[in-house]
Amino acid sequence: MTSVMGNPDATGRFGEFGGRFVPESLMPAVIELDSAFREAWSDPLFRAEYTATLENYAGRPTRLYLAERLSEYLGAEIWLKREDLAHTGSHKINNVIGQALLARRMGKSRLIAETGAGQHGVATATAAALFGLEAKVYMGEVDVARQSLNVFRMRLLGAEVEAVTSGSRTLKDAVNEAMRSWVAALGDTHYCIGSVMGPHPYPWMVREFQRVIGDEARSQYEAATGSTPDWVVACVGGGSNAAGTFAGFVDTPARLVGVEPAGGAAVGHGIGGIVHGMQSFFLQDEFGQINEAASISAGLDYPGVGPEHAHLHAIGRARYDQVNDDQVLEAVQLLARTEGIVCALESAHAIAWLVEHKQELLSSSIVVTLSGRGDKDVETIAQRLGFLEGEEHA
């Protein structure tokens, strides 16, 4: 037995979830990655370089900020873990710095990545520029059109962006295409997966590269209050910011909450399946074909969820709830107006959950991970609000 959020067993299982369901052509690569990560992660020099890069380059530690006006509004004590202040504007940089350092250590000169909203693609392009690696980012054609500014950002950073035209032309298809291209480029290329998903060791490795969020928040909270929070809340797409946050608190009495979009709730509405190299929950039709997710936030538009979340759900250690797009739009505005913070639509899911559960949360203390900033979403928000107002007046 492994402890909750400890290291998975050699086959990469979290309870019944996880594993390594990849074609034989990729198997040696994921086995090699597993041992390279194990070695690196227990090497103090690797850790020191990872930590130093996060501090000097990415701006860590990020603040744990007591949001007083929001706290007053909700009648609870809300502490925001400010991943929106990390370089590139989201927590994605933590993982990418780790994987880029690992890729370099493995002698790889090139990174490939999938991206939905473009945040992970931008982070990958950034790390590639920083370490002098080549980068190619796969992005569904639909998302390329929706997130054109991030496409340009990636190109500005020197990355190549390929629009994926197969399947539903969104994030899940970008994952497929990245895997396809990886097979043909194993010699010099590392596949830098953007969340706690995919075949072992990715879900575990990405959680470890993101646990800096939770570890920092735990000690910052302790330093400020001498105690641990009652609740810990984060949004869940693939689940990396949530997994990184939960890892810091899983051994405290804190109640852990992952907030999924109602239109992409793999834990809430999904069923057990095996796709993208992992056994987990996925949105599927009655025959096991994978359905598309549909949420206002491109970064949560993923029909699956990381296997460790499936496990935390199954054993009851974390709770997974959903909020819908309208609640998210309300939450973005609430946070903007009470705290002067325009957060990402993804992160606003966590805020929306606080609003919905206000009664349950009264007088409690809550750490909320604000996974990213909202600049990338301003246009979407403007359109949606204009649309909503138009409807009201109609």
Binding site: D173, R180, I290
Partner: protein, 257 residues
Amino acid sequence: MLEKSLQQLRKSGRRILVPYVMAGSDPDWLSLVDLVIESGADAVEIGIPFSDPSMDGPVIQRAGELALARGVTPFSVLSELRTRSFSVPIVVMTYYNLFHHMGIERAVTELRQAGVDGVIIPDLPLEEGANWRAMAKSQGLETVQLVSPVTSLERVDEILAVAEGFVYGVGSMSVTGERAELAETATAIATRIRPRTTLPLLIGIGISNGDQAAAVVEAGADGVVVGSALLRRVLEGQTPSELSYFVSEIRAALDEA
């Protein structure tokens, strides 16, 4: 049935040709199965379309998308197969989620009832496949194992120890798709695996014409699987006689090699 049948061919000195057909990519796909058998196929690989075919290149992806758009499901494919019997073994290729979703016991039963002799599940590697293999074996369904150009010899032997039906040697470090030139890995893997197994050894992925097929059997393989090169012609709307000519050409090249 699959292994036995292919072993007999192998012992008689006949090279093995296994064309790939995507179930339901066109309403008349069963005629395509008949056509490839008449043109010299020794077994037929039948794809069941999946929403996320992460091992397939553009041609097979496209064929699968057409099938899904027509409303094809695993059950519709299997019930169509149930209405027919074929003179050669049938091997189903698809991704594991479809079987996992049905439940492996039901999946194996349905496949057997549809007359399927073997399965190829590219995303079910050695370590994850023990339950499936046991269930399949108990009902006489043979699970084909894949070995790749980067599989270590130690691992090759572990895979061969559980292999059934035939050994699928992955000819190219890529997803499915045609190649103008045969990959060096295609002949290399045939040479590398041949001395390690007495099972029929077929090379697939990237085999696009008769010359390439002949080259891999000369390197030690017993035959080939041909997918994208055939399906591209199907998607282009080539006539039955053109398709038959293409398959017969590979047949002839194998017979002469």
